[in-house]
Amino acid sequence: MTNNNRGCASHIDRRAFLQVAGASSAVALAGCTGGNGTGDGTHVSYTNQVPTKIQYNPLNPTSYSQYSHYLLFDRFANFNFAKGEFIPYLIQNWEFGDGTFEMTVRDGVTWEDGDDVTAGDVATQLRLARLTGGTIDQFTDSVEVADDRTVVLELAGDVNPRIVEFNALGQRFMTLKESEFGKYVEMFEDDAEKAQSEIQSHAYKDVTANGPFTVAERGNQQILLEKRDDHPDSGNINFDQVAFRYLDGNTAVHQAIGANELDSVMVFAPPNVVNNFPDHIRMETIPGKVGYGLIPQHDHEHTGDRAVRQAIAHVLDRETIVKNVGETLKQAPPLPVGIPSDDQERWLGDAYDSFEDYGVNERQTDDAEQILLDAGYSKDGDTWVDGSGNVVELPITVPSGWTDWVTATQTIVDQLNDFGFESQVDSRNFSALNGTVWPNGDFILSAGGWLPGGGRASFPYFSLHHQLLEHYRGFTYNYTPANENRGGSNGDVTVPSRTGSGTMTVNPNDRLEELSETSDEATTREISIEQAWVTNVDLPVIPVMEKQEQAFLATDEWSVPEQGSDVSQVRWPHLWLIRQGELQYDG
């Protein structure tokens, strides 16, 4: 529904609304007394950031925009989770040459002050990312402007094209206009430290937009965007305004959806809440590429033993854990492996069937028992003990404020106890865990992410690197192949061979480095499968569930694509659909 006829008086505090949005909202509110039906309604979405504080400098993490920048600025390219590849956008074309990565800027994209978006702007964005320590710096020697629409990255040595794509194009918006931010690039040449602190503390609020919308008003209650007619995709959009209302907390958002106050929103909602939403609200999910796993302490006498880790994986019924937390929020990975759920078949291909699933929706206690018995463990009454008679104790640390994780942990603890391990929930304050417990390796099992998150997690290099070498949180898990800062020594690992008998000894660090440098698709796949096999057998991290991002779209006055359409599989669906003309006003 738009503001035009949603019984505004009952749902929107008119005074607050008017204070915030001034004349433009008066137009919108005027619609309350009867829809104008001309298709110039206001699309109402939400943000949980105070609108007056939102800023748009991506190099400054403080109050960086959550949603509105998706409409204000053009993204280099958009990763489609269904296709597993980038859809060109501001960068219309990219090519790998001999040690180069050439990007072509889309024609006809302009800043709201009338200037064209040029290769110089793109280069500024990339240069500042490099200078402030972005990952792109690791494989780039320099960023060159070939002509008005061509930018060239001079690559440093061999680098896997996908790694370049994910780091150069992924999650990158054209925000930093050269005429405004070029000075910082120069400043880096004179005084890098000063430049770094200045750019990273600069709150970019009075923006010059280049997307299909620009900021019209912002107040305490909402930020209102107005359509720009001179964007190449403006023709796809048949309404004039998008409002991001400020709501604090998921419950407030759930209530606003229930009261018909929002047209599109990204929010977590458990199944019973979703069932209670009005009929015209449609849920779309996209994979979060992050999720709850168990991080074992590898230098512990029990969790350091592969047999125990495998037994744990067999004992857990992932499907039950997911259902307990909420099916709408999570999914169970088909294989516990260092590749996200939706990408496993794509990457493992024919090898998929040779991988162990450890029981997605069942508790394989017999398998677990056999593994433990073979490894010298035995049962003392109902409890598992090791060869020395020590009880296998598996307390699980978890941040106490993360209720979905705590719920999952409780289920896991019950499943482990039922099998004969001794486990309990050890919940602590997140900052205590993150600050001391995890870095000190002061845990036996801990709840932790098994994926690095974001579109790039779809490429196995990143997800395998995350599990085998360097978890993005500071877990000192002392896994031998891991990097030194995670308690490892980049050592070899020996696992049963995937095909046939015998064992294979590999060095994950060397192999992933090889993967990061190869341009050969076959080699990329081969190493990905090999290292995924290591994660599947050795379980450096035990995957349990993967997060689903939920989008809710109102369909009463808006036409949206069929549920599950490929086009919706881009972050964030509601905002991408607006640009694509797939979310239109038809009230």
Binding site: N272, V273, N324, V325, T403, D404, N429, A432
Partner: protein
């Protein structure tokens, strides 16, 4: 401090008195007297009051549930029943289940013992410390009083909740006893101050004066003459401290500050709100209601008990019920004690 005793007298008196009482009063007699005077009579008076009766009954029910009930009723665990069962659908889980299939009633019952331990430890810690500091400060006066009063003033001026939050994060207490003490870490201060002013009046009573004159030691005077007289007041405040522990612990659990390893109604509330969407129209209000009712009734029981105990203060009621006269009938009610100690 005011000293009126003569040394020679006091030494003689003391040994003389002791010799007399050895023969006549056995320990059992003393205990019996103590029981009659300080437990039976106040109890009788208190029990006359309906509020006390109801309050005590409610608390008895909680104690029963927290002790026997946990033996009789199964422990909560995930997937013990069907998920998200509404209440009154099945005898297996009479008050319904959570979205992870945990029996809501089992969760409420099995949170009770920890809660009672927390209440006891917090209440005892706060009142014991307050009594100790309040009586010593009020009775001794002088520098001791000034030091102790300053100490409790400082404790009082520290904002309680932030202090508890910081300590909870640092200590991460998992034992109910520790949590109880942590919550009342500065609750005792106000109570200590009011006890001090009570003691300031009591110390001027003739029998206290007599004990002092006889050279009875300070701890003995405090234990035998002073504390028994403020006992009802202390009990009332114990009930109040207990109520504070209930609310504060539930609040801290709800905020996710205390570790969830200990079962608690606050965790239930938090889960109902954030996991089950009880306030988003998810039809899971019952998950919020059960722990809320448990909290409300416990608080109600404690309030009623505290109010009922107030009557024990009234000497006339006590005298009438106990059928004998009090030794302190003509005492002035106006106990506005001077805050500065006399010299």
């Amino acid at each position: 401090m005011k000293h009126t005793e003569s040394k020679t007298e006091s030494e003689d008196e003391f040994s003389f008195g002791a010799a007399q009482s050895d023969v006549e009063v056995t320990t059992a007699d003393r205990l019996r007297d103590f029981y009659r005077e300080f437990i039976y009579k106040p109890g009788l008076v208190a029990w006359e009051d309906n509020r006390t009766r109801i309050g005590a009954t409610i608390l008895a029910v909680y104690v029963f549930v927290g002790t026997v009930g946990t033996w009789l009723y199964r422990s909560p665990s995930t997937n013990q029943s069907e998920r998200s069962l509404q209440p009154f659908q099945t005898m297996e889980a009479p008050l319904g289940t959570t979205s992870s299939g945990e029996d809501v009633l089992a969760m409420a019952i099995h949170a009770t013992p920890e809660m009672l331990i927390m209440i006891l430890s917090g209440g005892i810690f706060a009142t014991a410390l307050a009594v100790l500091i309040g009586t010593v400060a009020g009775y001794k006066g002088g520098t001791t009083d000034r030091v102790l009063t300053t100490f409790s003033d400082v404790a009082m001026s520290i904002p309680g909740l932030p202090l508890i939050m910081v300590l909870a994060v640092v200590v991460s207490p998992e034992r109910a006893v520790v949590i109880g003490i942590l919550i009342t870490i500065n609750y005792w201060a106000g109570l200590a101050r009011s006890i001090r002013s009570q003691v300031l009046t009591i110390r001027e009573h003739s029998y206290v004066e007599a004990s002092r004159t006889m050279g009875v030691s300070t701890p003995r005077i405090l234990l035998k003459d002073v504390i028994p007289n403020i006992m009802p007041y202390v009990l009332v405040n114990f009930a109040n401290a207990a109520r504070y522990v209930v609310f504060a612990s539930v609040g801290l659990y709800y905020l996710g500050i205390l570790p969830t390893s200990v079962a608690n109604w606050g965790i239930q509330l938090d889960n109902a709100y954030s996991q089950a969407g009880a306030l988003s129209g998810g039809g899971t209000m019952y998950q919020l209601a059960v722990p809320m009712i448990a909290i409300m009734f416990l608080a109600l029981g404690l309030i009623l008990l505290a109010q009922g105990m107030d009557r024990v203060f009234n000497p006339r009621v006590r005298t009438r019920l106990a059928g004998e006269s009090e030794s302190e009938t003509e005492d002035d009610e106006d106990a506005a004690a001077p805050t500065e100690v006399m010299t």
